[in-house]
């Protein structure tokens, strides 16, 4: 899931790359949530979680390149129920709503960036 915009001159500044990485991470999170919800009764299944926000924030504030941050998938270590499954339906449902909203916001932010250039081009 590397950025394929290496040749693009206009859109490789910090905020564009950060937004691209965030969009990748949020889309991955949506898929992982769907996975977790479909496995809610599977014995021994540990919920998967996607992490990228902290790494991204750290990369940006340390002045490093946000392009090097990739979203990671890890298994949740929360306590399991009797059948070894630890998927929490409430948490997954709310996380779904939250991720959907964040995805919309990040898309809006990307769109606004393109829009500013478009405004100047249209004259």
């Amino acid at each position: 899931m590397r950025n394929s915009l290496k040749g693009a001159v206009v859109f490789d500044d910090v905020s564009s790359v950060t937004l691209r990485t965030a969009l990748d991470g949020l889309a991955l999170r949506q898929r992982v949530i769907a996975d977790n919800i479909s496995n809610i009764e599977t014995p021994g299944y540990l919920a998967k979680k996607v992490k990228f926000e902290e790494a991204l924030g750290a990369a940006v504030s340390a002045g490093g390149s946000p392009a090097d941050v990739t979203p990671t998938v890890a298994r949740s270590l929360e306590p399991t129920r009797l059948n070894g499954n630890n998927v929490n339906l409430d948490e997954e449902t709310l996380s779904n709503v939250d991720t959907g909203l964040r995805y919309q916001l990040a898309l809006r932010a990307m769109d606004d960036k393109f829009g500013l250039v478009r405004d100047v081009i249209k004259g």
């Binding site: 409430d90 948490e91 939250d98 909203l101 916001l105």
Partner: protein
């Protein structure tokens, strides 16, 4: 979830009410557990709800067990009856447990509708100034 805070806070409420529902359903399913008088009756579970330590929403402070005294019922034909014919049953009032069940369910639904409304509001905020 500091970005969409209302959803995170409602999430803590949902967790508390879900635990309450679990405790009440546990109590109700064990309401007729027989125990010998030498032992303890099934202890009802009570969920302690309190404000979250970081100020965002609610948390379960702990689950307390009720008394194991129960009530003694005269049933000489029961296999667990003691020499005097008594068996120990838990002292759980079904009526009050059903009342709690309804309250827990209402609380759960109320928190979910907060999430719904908050989602609509946030979507409207994301669409702000969008028409150009």
């Amino acid at each position: 979830m500091s970005l969409f805070n209302a959803i995170g806070i409602a999430g803590t409420g949902v967790t508390v009410y879900r635990k309450w529902l679990d405790a009440v359903s546990d109590n109700l399913s064990n309401i007729n557990d027989a125990a010998p008088t030498s032992g303890e009756a099934f202890k009802a579970k009570y969920v302690i709800a309190q404000e979250a330590s970081d100020g965002n929403g609610a948390q379960v402070g702990g689950i307390v067990e009720g008394s194991g005294q129960g009530r003694l019922v005269y049933e000489p034909t029961h296999p667990l009856a003691d020499a005097d014919g008594y068996v120990r049953y838990p002292d759980i009032d079904m009526g009050s447990q059903m009342g709690q069940l309804i309250m827990a369910q209402r609380g759960y639904q109320a928190n979910l509708s907060v999430v719904d409304r908050a989602k609509d509001s946030y979507q409207a905020a994301i669409q702000l100034g969008r028409n150009s």
